[in-house]
């Protein structure tokens, strides 16, 4: 099914910003400027945002309001970015987070 609501029975047609391209783990995806990164990912079918530090367990959106911090990813090279409240911008680089960094990026020198 299409994860995007085109028309809502109460809210009517859903207004969105400009369609932009961003990268997700080296794949190009589209989303609307200004919507939360997590919304664009969800629309593209991405559920797993990160793998935890200790158990390597998959995590995704849980609270969707920036409180639980489970949906964090590496965004433009910075780890622990809450994707549910961070607006999507053109050309953003979004990566799955492993522990506290992007995969194969161990050590602080590669963080910035």
């Amino acid at each position: 099914m299409n994860a995007r609501i085109i028309e809502h029975p109460i809210l009517g047609k859903i207004e969105k910003g400009r369609l932009v391209e961003f990268s997700y783990n080296d794949t190009k995806l589209n989303g609307y400027e200004g919507e939360p990164i997590s919304a664009a990912l969800k629309a593209a079918g991405v559920m797993v945002h990160r793998h935890t530090q200790k158990q390597g367990a998959p995590r995704g959106v849980f609270c969707a309001i920036g409180r639980c911090t489970d949906c964090v990813m590496v965004v433009d090279g910075k780890a622990n970015v809450r994707t549910c409240i961070t607006p999507l911008t053109d050309g953003m680089i979004v990566q799955t987070q492993y522990g506290v960094s992007a995969k194969n990026h161990q050590g602080a020198e590669e963080r910035s």
Binding site: T52, Q53, K54, F62, C63, R67, C68, T69, D70, N80
Partner: protein, 111 residues
């Protein structure tokens, strides 16, 4: 004396349970079994468990697991929920980058 105050109170032996492996603190990946064991180790308050195990010390600062941890401690101690206060909340209410925290600004004009 409240039940949380006498630290020599006999809690009986620690009995492992089926769901001990279940994650309670999502941020720090602390399990129910670890929390139960901590109570048997003498950690009778949310603050002590927090300091002992890091429950509620992760990015979300206990906003998700606070009530769950409390429930587990209450059951393990056999005490009343009202006896246990949440662990302390602290500034900042949401994580803030060091460079932002460092950047104190004056509000200009009358606006």
């Amino acid at each position: 004396m409240r039940k949380i105050n006498d630290r020599s109170r006999d809690l009986g032996a620690f009995v492992p349970a089926d769901d001990d492996q279940m994650i309670i603190c999502r941020c720090e990946e602390i399990t129910k079994g670890e929390i139960r064991q901590a109570v048997h180790d003498g950690m009778f308050t949310l603050t002590e468990v927090r300091r002992y195990l890091r429950t509620g010390m992760g990015l979300c600062q206990g906003q998700t697991c606070g009530k769950l941890v409390k429930g587990i401690i209450v059951r393990e101690l056999g005490t009343a929920p009202a006896e246990l206060e949440p662990a302390f909340s602290r500034v900042p209410m949401r994580p803030i980058e060091m460079k932002v925290f460092a950047n104190e600004q004056e509000v200009q004009g009358d606006e």
